[in-house]
Amino acid sequence: MNKTQKIESMMEVVRILVGLVIAYAVALAILFAISEDPIYIVQQFVLGPFSSPRRIGTIINLAIPFTICGLSMCFMYAVNKFNLVGEGIFMLSACMVTWVSILLAPMNLPSVVMVPVMLIVAMLTGIAVSFIPAIMDRKFNANVVVVSLMLNSVIQSLATWILRYQMRDSSIAYLGSLETPASIQLPKIFGSFRIQSGLFIAIICVVVVAILFYKTAFGWKMRLVGANPRFATAVGLSAVSISFIAQLAGGAFAGIAGATEMMSNYTRFQWTTTTQHGFDGLLVAVLAKKNPVLVPIGALFLAYIRIGADVVNTSGDIPTEFVTVIQGIIILLVAAESFLSGTKNKLIFKAAEKEEKAKEAKAA
């Protein structure tokens, strides 16, 4: 029994490593095929992201929204409701934060008041939006995936409408909102690394979600409902309302992610399409196996390969699109739980056989 568990956890690591190796091998093969100078490109792809403090900082900055979006998806994933509305929430919450901050600007409130207020606005936005697919799932058994994807287009148009008709700055040549008050613009930290102070928000979020998942009754409820909803019902938990609340909580974190991105990187809201962050959050949650503690690692990894692609793109003859291919392979191999399961079962079988023989020898 003990051995079985060891083999299971060992194979989990091996599986992810083999997945990564295969993905890199494919990437290298493609590079060798399409590049004039593959060795240089490979070097750039693997080491490029670490070649300057600025680039390392960019990895971390990119990992910040990935982390918070990943946490958001952990809630959905934990209760097995693939509510993908995080994508829309990310955009709408950035939009709402901008709008509310512009409306509050005349009051000249200090940062210590404004930033928390903005985060609350973002969370309320997230909860309100994810309420729609969640309630439709609960009351009408409407598929959350379909509803949330459709809702994302609605939200995109809504955010664009707010931008165009409620807060457009007509004095600039492009489509953008009025400038946000300085009190909500988060500073950069660590000198030449130029890391966003949103990092602290992300760290706090990870700690809060990890505690929520593993130390509180609600986290236990969510995990039980996700693992076996019929069992959860039979021991007296309300599977329906728990997964409903989990979706709202996930929405709140997607809201925080959008607000953090807005306050850290922009002085005007200027998105007219959604930003893929919500879907990246899903990738991160899958990579982290819905464990909030592992979410930052998944997020950093995703950010690292994205920056690698950017570096290759600017310094060589390779289009960024190729990174999508590698990404796809990695996610596929990491998410495919049965990958290498044959090897795993063989190992378990051998271990069991060995144990039996040992027992027999002992008996003899």
Partner: protein, 515 residues
């Protein structure tokens, strides 16, 4: 009369060591409706799966029309003239009757599916055997009885000469059953042999000419129906392999704990799956429910556990009605529930042993410390129960799915026996687990009733278990209580079998005072 099919000395042992069939010989003649009867788990389904090519036996031969054949898979079986109608229909609801019937052997025209040809062919067979179905109708618009006809047509279209019907009347109304029998007679007369699997002895007596009885994977004999009666068949079907004994003193009955009053539950097709059920369980007694599976036991347990609702009547637990209450409320009122299928409702396999043990109680205030869970208290409880119930594991943090069946069931009972409830609803508590664990669970059930005054409802397909653990014994059939006995260990298997299979039924007066 020539034999169309003969299975000779079939032995099938599953990888987990379960002997499903042992040296079974079974032959079907021409123009014959042959009944295959036996309790759940007697090996009927396995035997038919072997005949239909879905399972490979370890030993034995199969002869079709006197010639030895190997049946590799269901397609092979169909090619050899064997057709099977499964208990759960295998139809595509969004397609028409004709499309379903011809699926797999479609008539073609110019390399494309010939829909008109399919309709024509289907209608021809349907008319030939007097099957009143419209080939152009969509399957989703049909009644259950008509769907079954489509299933039979499917087999006939593919040229079946031997038709296996697995409990065909279980889903039918009495009128539909009559109609089905008429058609079976017609099929028999036109040269199709039929294997009729059923628990309903009156049907077997009515339509079959021969019967083969299986018990615990062994063949108890094949006989002509003429000259047999239902009691004789039931005696062969129901019996115990090894008689198990549990020593227990007479129960000291206290106040009523569970009062079930005129409970009726109607399922989605309008059948009364619980039909005016009435009985009471007192403090300190174990009430057993025996019965062929599918006679309302599952529905009764779901209703009692608060997992499904009922149409009328009332259930009181410790004096309060449970009607419309949530599972949480019913559990707080004093119910503990050992679910029929432990992997579905008994545990969350991916979660730790610890979480599974406290799953029913961690939300309560005494498991909290401020905002958080009281980790120390939970760990202590888990360690204690792992020790008390001798759960073999590495640690309390191990996922439950890594344990053996018996140890998983120990996790379930560790939770349910310690929940503080005074009513334990135990459904198939020892199904598929090792002898040692089964004994521990049975003894604990009896011990709790004697020492703590727990009221227990034991629903089990294991005759040993219901006869030995229970004080009072009830038999369920067709959603009703068909019999009641004051002392379970004095009931003979023969008598029990007769009531389980509907050979006899007690009147309300006979059961007076025993419910």
């Amino acid at each position: 009369m020539a034999e169309v099919m003969r299975m000779q000395d079939i032995t099938k042992i599953y990888p987990n060591g379960f002997v499903a069939n042992k040296d079974i010989t079974f032959a079907v003649g021409e123009h014959e409706i042959h009944a295959l009867v036996g309790e759940n788990g007697a090996g009927k389904t396995t035997l038919m799966k072997i005949l239909f090519g879905m399972e490979a036996p370890q030993e034995g031969k199969i002869f079709i029309n006197g010639k030895e054949e190997k049946i590799a898979n269901p397609l092979d079986a169909i090619a050899k003239g064997i057709g099977m109608v499964h208990q759960h229909f295998m139809l595509v609801p969004s397609l028409t009757v004709a499309e379903n019937v011809t699926l797999g052997a479609e008539p073609m025209k110019n390399g494309l599916f010939d829909f008109d040809g399919a309709v024509k062919a289907t209608q021809e067979i349907a008319d030939k055997y007097n099957f009143n179905v419209d080939a152009l109708q969509k399957v989703s618009d049909l009644s259950v009885g008509q769907m079954q006809k489509v299933e039979i047509l499917k087999a006939l279209y593919k040229g079946a000469k031997l038709l296996i019907l697995d409990e065909p009347t279980a889903v039918l109304t009495p009128q539909e059953t009559e109609e089905l029998f008429e058609q079976l007679f017609k099929l028999r007369d036109s040269g199709v042999s039929i294997i009729f699997i059923s628990h309903k002895l009156e049907e077997v007596m009515r339509i079959c000419s021969k019967v083969t009885v299986l018990r615990h994977g062994r063949c108890m004999g094949s006989m002509d129906i003429a000259g047999l009666n239902e009691a004789a068949i039931s005696k062969l079907m129901v019996g115990r392999d090894v008689v198990l004994k549990i020593d227990k003193e007479a129960p000291k009955l206290g106040k009523p704990v569970v009062e079930i009053q005129n409970v009726v539950k109607i399922n989605s097709i309008g059948k009364n799956v619980l039909d005016n059920v009435n009985f009471t369980i007192h403090e300190g007694e174990v009430v057993g429910i025996a019965g062929v599976e599918g006679n309302g036991q599952t529905e009764l347990s779901e209703v009692l556990a608060g997992l499904s609702s009922f149409a009328s009547g009332d259930i009181k637990l410790n004096g309060q009605s449970i009607k419309g209450k949530t599972v949480r409320e019913i559990r707080d009122q004093g119910m503990a529930y050992i679910a029929e299928d432990r992997m579905v409702e008994g545990v969350a396999g991916d979660m730790s042993i610890k979480m599974n043990i406290v799953a029913d109680r961690f939300t309560k205030p005494d498991f909290k410390k401020g905002m958080f869970m009281d980790a120390k208290k939970i760990n202590d409880i888990a360690d204690q129960y792992i020790k008390d119930f001798e759960i073999l594991c590495d640690s309390k943090d191990q996922p439950v799915r890594m344990l053996s069946g018996g140890n998983i069931q120990k996790v379930v009972v560790a939770r349910e026996f310690t929940s503080g409830a005074n009513f334990i609803l135990a459904c198939q508590p020892t199904r598929g687990i090792d002898v040692g664990t089964a004994e521990m669970i049975r003894k604990t059930i009896v011990k709790k009733s004697r020492e703590e005054g727990t009221a227990t409802l034991l629903i089990s397909a294991d005759l040993n278990e219901v006869l030995e653990c229970s004080d009072r014994l009830l038999v369920m059939r067709k959603g009703k209580i068909a019999a009641a006995f004051p002392k379970a260990n004095e009931v003979s298997e023969e008598t029990l079998g007769e009531y389980m299979l509907g050979v006899k039924e007690m009147t309300q007066e006979e059961m007076e005072g025993l419910l």
